[in-house]
Amino acid sequence: MPAVTKDRTETEAVKPPGEREYRPNGNKTKRDERWKRFHSSRVLLLLMVPGVAYFLVFHYGAFIGNAVAFKEYVPFDGLWASPWVGFENFDRMFGDPDFWHATWNTLFLAVLQLVFFFPVPLGLALLLHSLTSDLTRRFVQSVVYLPHFLSWVIVVALFQQVLADTGLLNSVLGQAGLHSVDIIGNPDAYPALVVAQVVWKDAGWGTIIFLAALMQVDEQQYEAAAIDGAGPWRRFWHVTLPSIRPVVILLLIMRLGDILSVGFEQMLLQRQSVGPEAGEVLDTFVFWQGIVGGDTGYAAAAGLFKGVVGAILVFAANKVAHRLGEQGVYK
């Protein structure tokens, strides 16, 4: 009954002139039903237009542009008139030591971040969750979320300021009679620096989801475990960890999908100071070859390679999650 009322009031509310002759005359065929749904959704459909157009043009439309990876791009001719070259760009890419170098750096930094960054928000969340004073916890939360909202330009500049050879850290070390450390612009220290920056910027923000998951853990389970004689460590292992496992796995998969990006802005900002030997990753390789160097087709091939590998990683990780009986990102 309400559905009928809804339809009536709606058509009366906004009825374009001349609409009537298109209206179905009451016999309930499948097409009529469909048309009715379409008609009653028309305001919503109109609202979708800008958003859907955006996704079609700037995601799907742009995606078609990956065709340039199979072309010899001539700027004057444009994307479509440039000649096809098959897999030539890929052949060249797989024989290019610089490409493999960038791939290796990408994987190395990605694994490093996964191992050394990923546990930090979890640990920090456990620490925050264990604070008994609400006020302290709120305050610490507010402080550690803040760096997430600073741009990479600012974060990198802050690190340079503190860790440069005449910076704060080295003065403190000098006054303590210790050796100074060479961090900024030192290729050997670069991977550690990168991870430290990510931890400083995003570890606090990363606690949000874990904290929410920790709030969900049933307090009675802790009490029951305590009565059974479980100490804090065993309570953590047998109550906390199993409760937050789905969230941890979900985040891990999402992280995997993005892993080959290893933080493009962060990398690009520091590539010059540390040199391509240590600082080149796949994204900066694409940027340098394609946008700076103008080797468009070649760079697009490298970008496409990265995209495909990233997608495979997500599929694989999701499959593994399903095997382990977890929900994963999608079903």
Partner: protein
């Protein structure tokens, strides 16, 4: 739970203090350096922890040059227009996709979510912007990043939480979907709109990469200007901001620009922050 042991408590307190110091000290260094005098900064090797004779000279010089003032205007304009456009388009799409009976809702939602798995890539995006004639236009900083899928999912999740009875009641009063959005849904969603709006604002304010590839340097927003000054090592004096003879240490000016770029974030942050603990985001993430 029982009270933790004193040792545990001390260890926790130490950990918390260390974390707070690690977040605060870099801010302290840049703010202090930007207010310090020329001589002091040079004597100390490029930075100070606390200025002995605070001065506004670096700020005066930065604003006297015009470059930073202009970049500040560009950044503010992009942030305001971009946030409004993004928030409107995201809200409309999220609202339409949150209604269970909307025609074509499921396939459209899939089309949108699918882009999360397969981003188009840097070069195709660049070619598209170029092909659409948006080079050298501020629209290149907004239109290609108009809707963020994550923000869309957050808003949609929030809209889905609006009780169905409110929709029915509004419908019985003769409201159409557009009127329901304005009179029922949006007034109930202020917290979610604030969070998403501020996410957009922060990302527009912080963006520099697109400006660096799409715009000439005299149209750059503040972050890109900051990047070339502070990271590229080019001194502010080189860019005609002031003449080299009587400049303060470029370091103090660099830090002043850094502070200017950070302050807006610090101003909006307290307003934004209170929503995070309320779980506006986490509800949507779970779905």
């Amino acid at each position: 739970m029982e009270k933790p042991k004193p040792v545990t408590r001390a260890a926790k307190a130490l950990a918390i203090v260390t974390i707070l110091v690690m977040v605060f000290v870099p801010f302290l260094v840049i703010v202090s350096t930007s207010f310090a005098s020329n001589r002091e900064v040079i004597a100390n090797g490029g930075w100070v922890l606390w200025p002995t004779h605070p001065t506004l000279r670096a700020y005066e010089q930065v604003f006297a040059g015009g470059i930073v003032t202009k970049a500040l205007g560009v950044s503010a304009g992009i942030t305001i227009i971009g946030t409004l456009a993004s928030l409107a388009c995201t809200t409309f799409l999220a609202y339409a996709l949150s209604r269970p009976k909307v025609y074509g809702g499921k396939p459209i939602l899939l089309i949108v979510l699918f882009t999360f798995l397969f981003p188009p890539g840097m070069i195709p995006a660049f070619l598209l912007v170029k092909g659409m004639g948006m080079l050298e236009s501020y629209s290149a900083l907004i239109v290609p990043v108009l809707i963020n899928v994550f923000n869309l999912v957050v808003l949609r999740g929030f809209f889905q939480g609006v009780p169905e009875e409110l929709y029915e009641a509004a419908r019985l009063d003769g409201a159409n979907d557009w009127q329901i959005l304005w009179r029922v849904v949006l007034p109930l969603s202020k917290a979610a709109l604030a969070v998403v709006g501020l996410f957009y604002a922060v990302s527009y304010w912080n963006a520099w990469f697109h400006a660096s590839i799409y715009l000439e340097s005299d149209h750059w927003p503040l972050q890109q200007v900051l990047r070339t000054y502070v990271m590229g090592g080019s001194q502010i004096a080189d860019t005609g901001l002031s003449d080299a003879a009587n400049v303060s240490a470029p370091q103090t000016m660099q830090m002043a620009v850094l502070v200017i770029a950070t302050v807006p974030i610090l101003i909006v942050y307290p307003f934004l922050q209170k929503y995070f603990t309320k779980g506006v985001l986490t509800g949507a993430i779970k779905s």
